[in-house]
Structures are given as C-alpha cells and as structure tokens.
Subunit: 80 residues, 4 copies
C-alpha cells in the first residue's frame, strides 16, 4: 500500500490563487503536497521564478488526489 | 524552519470519532498526522489493541496543530 | 523547490532483497520511499499479493533518487 | 503504529558538521528529519539565525532515531 506525495519548500501559485479576505488566499494544487505550516515560506509565481513574497500556510486539506491550501501573504516584495 | 509530524500506518480512534452519515465518520487528532489516503488502513480503538476493522481515509485537514480526518469504515470484524 | 516521494505501509520485495546475515536483509528501491522504522510492517512479494511475513526496518538511506533499506524479518507465514 | 519525524526546510548545523572532503560535509541530527534532497537548501548555524549559505543534500540515512546527512556546501555568504 503506497501513496505518492511531493514535499514542497515553497508555494508556487501559477496565478491560481483566490482571495478569501484581506491577505488570506486559497489555492488548489494537483496531487498530495506536503508543506510546512505556521511558518513563512517563499511564494513563487512559477516553479523557477524568484520569490515574490512570503506566506504562512494556515490550513492544508488533502482530498481526491488534490491539495487545498489556505494561506496568509505576510510579505510582498515590490510590485510584480 | 521545521514542523513535527507523525507518520501513521493505522487509525487509532480512542472513541473520539463522530458519525457523519452511514459508514462515514470524522475524527480530530492532536498534532499533524500523516496517513495514506484512498486505501484500506487498520482501525484500532487503542494504540496497542488489535484492529477492529478497516477504514479508507477520504480527506485529511491539517490546521492549528491538529488533524481532522473523514473516513469510511469498510470492514468491521465481529462485535468489539 | 520540491521532491516527489512515496509513503509506504508495507515492504514490497519483488525478490530483489539480499541477505546480509541471519534474518537481516537489504534491498534497493527506485525513488524516495517513506517507511515507518523500528516497528513491524507487512512484507509482500508483489504489490497486490498477501503478506508473507513481517519485517522491522532498521535503516533507510535516500541517495540519487533511490532508497536502500536494511530490515530484519521477524515473522514468516508458512512457506511461500 | 506510528513514527514521529520533523519536516525541515533548512539545515541547522550548530557546529556539528564534519568535513569529508572539499565542500562535502556530514552531520548527524537527533530524530528522523525529512529534507528535500538534490536541491539547494539554506544553511543556518542556529535555528533562528540568518542563513550563512546553501547546501545540496546528497544522502540521508535514518537509523536508531537519528538522521545522518551528507551535503555539499554550494554557496557561502561572506565570512561568518
């Protein structure tokens, strides 16, 4: 019995995030992704681009081979 | 930056589960627990007791240092 | 930055194990596989076959996208 | 059956590293620590200090509740 997953050290948004309120966003990603919660992680728009800021992931839900995150943007570098 | 978690190969309920409907239950556990989803896992009432059946975990949510599971009981051994 | 891995709740040997001494074996698996160490896990010869016994994994090494295990067979069901 | 572990997004050395050759070091850490291999991760001397450089982790071994890493320092910020 096995389950593939991916360990992530940054959040890659690819423009798929939705604002819930203020600086709090949600995003759905394909597959089961393992993140560190409750600490700042770099946010990138693409896999290989420079970080545009930092986010604290507040909630992670795994369901039907997808991952839903709720996160707070806490630091935004300039205007990208 | 680090995050403690616990890898689990069985679901220990300690009588804390709540029925959502039919054979579908939810349970909240302390800390971040890593489970295999979408496959049968043994269900125990206590950490060292014999399995009372099997469950398929359908959904896992990590939030505020706790883990919420939604699972379906698929196999129940006799009456414990 | 990300790394794929697979969470495993059983050890599937596919006949690739090598005896080190007595009941202690080593095996190399493709990719990064996450196992529970120091506790008995079911051993299967193929992904979907019945367990032939149990093993306690003593050591796991991840390197160059492969996983090397050292484990002790502790329980063998009959002669398969 | 369960196993505690800690997901890490940086390598905290606390001066315990040993040089193997050139820029390649090994270090032993208490407990089972989960790292991303084969990609640059920040290196810190203490848990809350600023990164002093980056390392690529080449090999991770879990054994007897400890983690041994082999890593290559690839980038060192100034002289700390």
């Amino acid at each position: 019995m096995q389950m593939p997953m991916t360990m992530q050290s940054s959040l890659v948004t690819i423009g798929k995030e939705k604002r819930l309120e203020g600086n709090v966003f949600e995003i759905s990603l394909e597959g089961y992704k393992l993140f560190i919660l409750d600490h700042p992680v770099p946010v990138q728009k693409k896999e290989n681009s420079s970080p545009v800021g930092k986010a604290v992931i507040k909630e992670v839900t795994w369901k039907e081979d997808s991952t839903r995150l709720v996160y707070e943007l806490i630091d935004l570098h300039g205007v990208n």
